[in-house]
Symmetry: C2
Subunit: 192 residues, 2 copies
DNA sequence: ATCGTTTCTTGATATAAATCAATCGCAATA
DNA sequence: TATTGCGATTGATTTATATCAAGAAACGAT
């Protein structure tokens, strides 16, 4: 089915009403892509050429520090993903982008998106508001990680996104929460 | 002197070339403001109405957690500041914005900036790229806090921004680095 | 279904940093 | 110049979380 595009439009319309006329051209630059679990979309050191919309599945963003991997975040249905800072700066990515489940995406490349920004005011505005939205999320998360202990962070995640434990292996969640898998395991089994 | 506006233009031009014609109107909405050390620009719970350009001085952004204050960041010459997420969402701010030295700013209010975004494509683009720039900084800082121990964070700050120790009291720097003032003090005096 | 990996759990121990407490230094003010 | 109060230092102790280690459970591939 092609309503993956319909979903994209809905997502974008939440930020900016897009005239039908412009939408035709806009959407024609987004290409569907299916990847298997374990597929790597972007490697550290690579310049990110794509910006992704996740229709279905789960994508993980992580960095490497002394061989250890550090999970930065996860994207699901309706989220965007990619090594977005590398995409913006054209500098090598500091993150791996990896599908951790079979995933269906739409992707657009840098040149196409730049063209759209030049061409359509609505696109430019969407870009601004989209960036703002990410920004707000990062502010929130920063406050979250700074204000709460490991245990509080775990409990808040349980309350706000319990479903994540079904989708993402615990070791990644542990890393995302800034603790070891052992610590997370203990916390889970204490409440039980 | 009025070259505070010249500095603003230079700052903005780094991201977007602004046509002279549009610039006149654009800049007319930015108003100068001088505040004393200790002045509070925005309080927690207040909706942020302004976006600031710091010409001179130092501004600190912090949050409160159980009475303790958590320093989130500092802005100096040429930086922007404000409770930017509140400014964007029109929701109550989660941060205090405070001058910690005599400070000279330019400020623009929400309605004026919205008007400029509507009016000028260059403004809209500046908004997008400006958001992107902040975003990139936050990504970098997130990786920084996640990848390094307290001691490494201290040493990296020393290398990259030693001047901050002249401008900002140590207890704020400690909080910014995610450690207690005692820990920071010990680290400083160990190397000496 | 079975074998081999990888992930999760549980326990014992180690450690970085926090907390508590006292003193010192210093800048602002009377 | 004396006084006051906040910030920085230094030491002793506590605590949360990491690390190390080993067994159990879950999962993927043959």
């Amino acid at each position: 089915m092609n309503d993956i595009y319909k979903d994209l439009r809905e997502q974008i319309t939440r930020l900016v009403p897009f005239p039908d006329a412009d939408w035709q051209d806009f959407v024609s630059h987004w290409h569907p892509m299916d990847v298997a679990k374990g597929a790597v979309l972007t490697k550290i050191g690579q310049v990110e050429d794509y910006f992704y919309y996740v229709h279905d599945g789960v994508v993980r963003v992580y960095a490497l520090k002394d061989g250890e991997d550090i999970s930065i975040g996860f994207s699901y249905n309706g989220d965007y993903t990619g090594a977005y800072d590398s995409f913006l700066t054209r500098a090598p990515s500091e993150w791996y982008i990896e599908a951790i489940a079979p995933t269906r995406l739409l992707k657009i490349d840098y040149n196409a998106l730049s063209y759209l920004f030049d061409q359509y005011k609505a696109a430019e505005r969407w870009g601004r508001l989209f960036n703002a939205q990410i920004l707000i999320g990062m502010f929130r998360r920063q406050l979250e990680t700074r204000s709460y202990s490991a245990e509080e962070r775990f409990e808040r995640l349980m309350q706000q996104s319990a479903h994540i434990f079904q989708l993402v292996p615990q070791k990644y969640i542990a890393s995302y929460l800034g603790m070891t898998p052992e610590t997370l395991s203990r916390m889970r089994n204490k409440s039980r």
